[in-house]
Amino acid sequence: MKKGYDIVIIGGGIIGCSIAFELSKRGVKDILLVEKRFLTAGATGRCGAGIRQQWGAELNASIALESTHILEHLEEYTGYDKSIELHQGGYLLVAYTEKEWNQFQKNLEVQHKLGIESYGLTPQECLEKAPYLNLDGVYGGTFCQKDGHANPFHSTQAYAKGAMRQGVDIETFCEVTGFRTQGGAICGVETTKGYVETKMVINCANTYAPELAAMVGDEIPVYSERHQALVTEPVAPLIDCMVMSFSRSYYVQQTPHGSFVMGIGPKEEPSHNFHSSWQFLEQNCAIMCEALPILRKLNVIRQWAGQYDMSPDRHPVIDEAETCKNFYSVCGFSGHGFMVAPRIAILMANFLTGQKDSIDIHKFSKTRFKTGDILIEPSVV
């Protein structure tokens, strides 16, 4: 770690690492990435790691689509010598009510406009995609083969190693404790490993991003929500696709390793709670065994908790602090940061280096919550 850098990125998850990679790829050499613990210690390492293009909002769908294209050859793109274990087994979104089914039809229109290869299914066709699915109450479903999942640890490492090769310094176990400003602009970062001069800060600290932004007087309407997941023992392949429902609020997927990773949407107060609970184990298993009765036969190995950085409209917040120039925050991914990170990083890097981009970054400005120009996303767990 040097005494000063042009840019300091805070957060060693997929967002921070991908932005570091894209910036250094564009010739920005003097970058430091600081991480409080180790890379993927936060939300990235705890996420379900699904990749989904079947979104209801055009902006989310287009970002997810372009991110998938990058993830399909991320190893080559970043020069990573291992596999990110991408598996495109598809996502089956199950509709349990007519209302949900009608929403899915609207979503399909949005997706088809962007060229996403998703389509509707009858209950019987759902059963073909996901054998052993309990069809009680199933109204229909939609499917996209290009959806799937990747290994979040390998994906982050791919970006981090690529960034380091391009000259980025990464400092782990280095917590940011404060900022120094001069004339309304950022001029330095206080860390547990000392003071670092800088001309710019990119705050990618996920649920801690609002707290860091508050240190320079900026207010971000993003809050933290605990989500839990569990993993079962590995068994021979049973279901190739992710099965997901919004109305019953569950997702489940068999990983290439053979274990099932699953979770349910909680109804909880905002908190930084990282503890797992028996209530989750009980509720999750009840919901999952109802939806996929064959899962009753599996033993649960482990469960854990992580945080979603929820924004009011389930779209990311990417903005410069009003009170401090050159202090950017990239957060509020609302549980789908992993799958959109590749495209968000390109958007951010293009913006900071003054290059053109097909997506207008100002759509993600937090002023949308004041003007009421919010981006609605109907399809989240």
């Binding site: 023992e233 068994v235 021979a236 053979g258 009765p293 064959i294 599996l298």
Partner: protein, 102 residues
């Protein structure tokens, strides 16, 4: 090999019964585990590593480590170190991931 005499412990082995291991009859006692019966019969290779298929033996013997998982009466991934012998049960070695059937 079994400990027949112990200075302070007494063994209640239950009834002597026969079950099938990989199609071959093996004798065991209903108050003992499958692992104990197989050990007494000289069978030390219990499970196999998932990728290289290397043999694994008894390791924790208390149901924690999954080093002894086998398919018992069609149910995969059964920890035989904590599962008692039942007469006529069908125990099979597992190679690769266990197969779950509805």
């Amino acid at each position: 090999m079994r400990i027949e005499q112990h200075p302070i412990l007494q063994f209640d082995r239950g009834e002597k019964v026969t079950f099938l291991f990989n199609g071959q009859p093996v004798e065991g006692y209903t108050s003992e585990t499958i692992a104990a019966a197989l050990h007494a019969a000289g069978i030390r290779e219990l499970s196999h590593s998932p990728n290289l298929d290397r043999p694994r033996g008894l390791f924790c013997a208390i149901g924690n480590c999954s080093s002894c998982v086998m398919t018992v009466d069609g149910e995969p991934n059964v920890r035989i170190c904590i599962t008692k012998v039942r007469p006529g049960m069908i125990v099979q070695e597992q190679h690769g991931k266990g197969v779950v059937t509805p």
